[in-house]
Symmetry: C2
């Protein structure tokens, strides 16, 4: 395991008749000089082999070692934070400060450390014990690698080799095979190298964390369905997500997807009257984060029509128009937005400001449409435009707002702004039950772009926002459960039980559901050893 | 809602140019006189419409009412227990006593009451609260009907309209559309009528529980993928399960499957020497339950070759030979077993006793094969023969036992028998880690057929035993989570939160994960109302 075709010896690999790819500088539109190999399917299969033997090793490793790895990795990322963030800024056009260094790097290391703490404390296993019947169960590793495909928009915090899915998959005790996103190959390489340093420091096999840069699309589909792969996670476009889902489903492999979301924000009449301008400013700020390239970007605003609605639109449009747009993450970014704009316009949306773009640049764009038009073609008018773009729906009354909510697909989030005096309460009660069934997270008086790394967070939602409404990609312990198998030990002799299921609480802090009560205590066992 | 094409007015429905089906008496092989309509796709769509409006009603109903329905339904089943069990005995050939009346009926009503108690107490929601950030999440209903396909082998406890999946789906707050199994149409009708009585008594809409008897296969696939259906559950054959899975997957619908399992039982050398005969008797008893038609039937025994192994096989074979076989559940039962026997024999298995069968009858059948032959073609030699059939694998040593375990597909269960003096401990340590990764439930010194309804039970396992390794069909609360969506309330004003997420604990008994601690206490909130 001293050599990997994925990270070591890049130059050699490329010389050996392999194709290579590069990232771009979105700010200048120029191709960057680094070259990264394209893996063959044989490479990918050997990665699966490495990972499977690492899975055996991890299965026998103590939680301490896995926790120590996650924490050491966080330390290594911090130690090399300047270089990593400079590279990420170069490759993504996202600002070095405060976005990458102060915010995203800190979030990344915090996630890794939270995962490490969870591994050490062990409550994530949801140990459930029926002491009278001597039946004991808990979440266990999947016994094979988790394949992770990260998105373009968070080069650190959702990177396949360092982000939330990575931390959760490792915390569950699984090896990871990460696919670097083409938008930040160099950043991913620096992160993978830090991971490898940490693996060495913790004496874990290199097969625990592997990364490849690129492969043929059909090889990616074959890999997801590979007998030796345990599960997969994907964050990105709906088209790519659904193709991977089809391949994984056919092979009976769990796959967790985060695909698309327009994150509707409803502004009720009282809120509009009370603080319409402040909400417009807040909306603009949220929509412009990373040039609108957040999965929780507020892409759909629903406001009451009329004078105040027009004022709101004017305020927002002026902000969109008068502020510069940032670079997009991909050379295809503007073309993708243009395609979405065409769908929206054909369905009746009109451009209030913006509309033009090319390559890595697109003007901040605000569109408007009537509630009636939206309800006539909700499918088209929910088309996501990944960038600094939003559609304002002007509704006749709160009944029409609820009808718009009822016509929505599954989304990650849904927000409702209401006034502070209770004037909007009846409208809220009409709208919220409808909207709640369409989203993973319902917000009050808040834009959706802040995703706190909290145990209570849900970064998930009904299809097609994700592939399954019962899971979350952010928030420990639930995010870890995606990559775990539920396993029961029935009448297993006490000395053969995993420590987490023995009578003695292995950490003194681990929460376990013992005979219907959640407790940190030891069990006074009713079982005698056979 | 006073009339349903599914249960009311059977005679009228059939007269109106519909096809009808009947059940058989497996004991005599004769068709029973009852006729039950075949539903058109229009019928099924109207069931979805009814269920969706019932879902809205359930969403606004208190947990008390849903709990009361589950408990009232259990009472109604008990009140009509004689008639239900007589009909079930007639349609399935399973003995009225003790199997149906004393065991399965009691299990069925116990499951319904456990689900009712969980609904009332509310801990199943896994409420998770970050009080400082005011982020609160929990499991919520799916907001649409759950479609349930039950198996032939448990006409009450796994019946689509009364079994474990039913209880879990209702407990999560969802309406159910049940498909009766053709093997026990009359039993299903009696149960559905009891459910309707209970719905009326609790003033819940009839769309809460609907049942149909049969439909064209393609209509079943369309129904699973129907936009208005929230999720599905299936217990039965792998072929039917995979067809439904493909349809559900393509539409992004969660589907929970329990498909097939040979439930390997490993007898280590010390155990064989110590109590081989007792284990053979236990194995025979387990394998003959309901003529071997249990999903946890021990279909694969792995024993050390040699004199003791031969003795074990002889003892078991004599029991298989000298005891009568019971009726099979389906007219195709024997033909299906014969097909499986052909596959097993072609791969090298030899019949030790039995082998013949026709229609509803098949001889108790024991086969044998060498460990070497098994390892040469593990796929064929894991073919499930649903009936009183088992294959004994004679292994050279414990290393070969571990190799056999490594070649297994996903199973519901795996058992290991070891001696009481510690002689088998090294062999156990070699085998158990391999076997554990292949099963949902690992047993010691116990046959797999007893599935206790305990919170710690896992009736699940890796693909293809089920469709997802993280879930269980038995054991509250986990079985309920399959039919729930995770939803977060972010910054939602206190008076708008569901009772389960407010500062005050709504039952005083509900367990909630508050700021990292599981507690039944109220929250001393740090949030002030906006």
């Amino acid at each position: 395991m001293n050599y990997s075709p994925f990270i070591d010896g890049l130059e050699n690999e490329i010389k050996q008749h392999r194709q290579a790819i590069s990232s771009y500088n979105p700010t200048t539109g120029e191709k960057l000089t680094g070259h990264y190999p394209v893996s063959t399917f044989a490479d990918l299969e050997s990665a699966v082999d490495n990972a499977r033997s690492a899975a055996g090793h991890l299965g026998e490793s103590s939680p301490e070692i896995i926790a120590h790895f996650l924490e050491t990795y966080a330390d290594r990322i911090e130690a090399n934070g300047d270089e990593i963030c400079r590279m990420a800024a170069l490759e993504t056009g996202l600002p070095y400060e405060p976005r990458l260094k102060t915010i995203e790097l800190a979030r990344t290391t915090d996630q890794l450390r939270q995962a490490g703490a969870a591994v050490r404390e062990r409550s994530w296993r949801m140990a459930t014990i029926d002491s009278a019947a001597n039946i004991r169960s808990m979440y266990t590793p999947l016994s094979g690698p988790v394949l992770i495909f990260g998105p373009n928009n968070f080069p650190l915090a959702f990177n396949a080799v360092s982000g939330g899915d990575f931390a959760a998959a490792i915390a569950a005790g699984n090896p990871v095979i990460a696919k670097a996103h083409p938008g930040h190959l160099g950043t991913s390489r620096l992160l993978a190298e830090a991971a490898w340093d940490a693996l060495n420091a913790c004496r874990l096999p290199r097969g625990t964390v592997q990364m490849f840069y690129h492969c043929a699309a059909e090889d990616g589909l074959k890999l997801v369905a590979h007998l030796g792969v345990a599960a997969a996670a994907f964050t990105g476009s709906r088209a790519a997500g659904l193709a991977l889902k089809q391949a994984a489903d056919a092979a009976g492999k769990p796959i967790y997807l985060e695909m698309s979301s327009v994150n509707p924000v409803f502004v009720l009449p009282g809120a509009l009257a009370e603080r319409g301008e402040a909400i417009a400013v807040e909306f603009f700020g949220s929509c412009m984060l990373a040039s609108g390239q957040f999965c929780t970007n507020p892409g759909l605003l629903i406001v009451p029509q009329g004078q105040r609605g027009e004022k709101f639109l004017q305020t927002a449009a002026a902000l969109f128009k008068d502020n510069p747009s940032g670079p997009l993450l991909s050379e295809f970014g503007a073309a993708n937005i243009q395609r979405s704009l065409s769908v929206l316009q054909e369905a009746g949306a009109e451009i209030a400001t913006g509309g033009e773009g090319d390559g890595f640049q697109h003007a901040n764009t605000l569109l408007r449409v009537s509630g009636e038009a939206f309800r006539a073609d909700p499918a088209s008018l929910q088309t996501e435009a990944f960038g600094p773009v939003a559609l304002v729906v002007m509704t006749r009354d709160t009944q029409e707002m609820a009808a718009v909510a009822a016509s929505l697909e599954g989304n990650l989030t849904g927000s409702i702004y209401s006034d502070s005096q209770g004037y909007d309460d009846a409208a809220y009660d009409q709208l919220a039950p409808v909207l709640a069934t369409k989203v993973g997270r319902l917000l009050n008086d808040k834009m959706p772009t802040g995703v706190a790394v909290s145990p209570a967070m849900v970064h998930g939602g009904p299809y097609p926002a994700t592939g399954h409404p019962g899971f979350t990609a952010v928030g420990i312990p639930a995010s870890i459960h995606r990559f775990a198998a539920l396993r029961c030990y029935d009448n297993v002799r006490p000395h053969r039980l995993p420590p987490e299921l023995r009578d003695e609480n292995p950490t003194g802090e681990m929460w376990r559901l013992v005979d219907g009560r959640w407790t940190q205590e030891n069990i006074v066992s009713k079982v005698t050893s056979t």
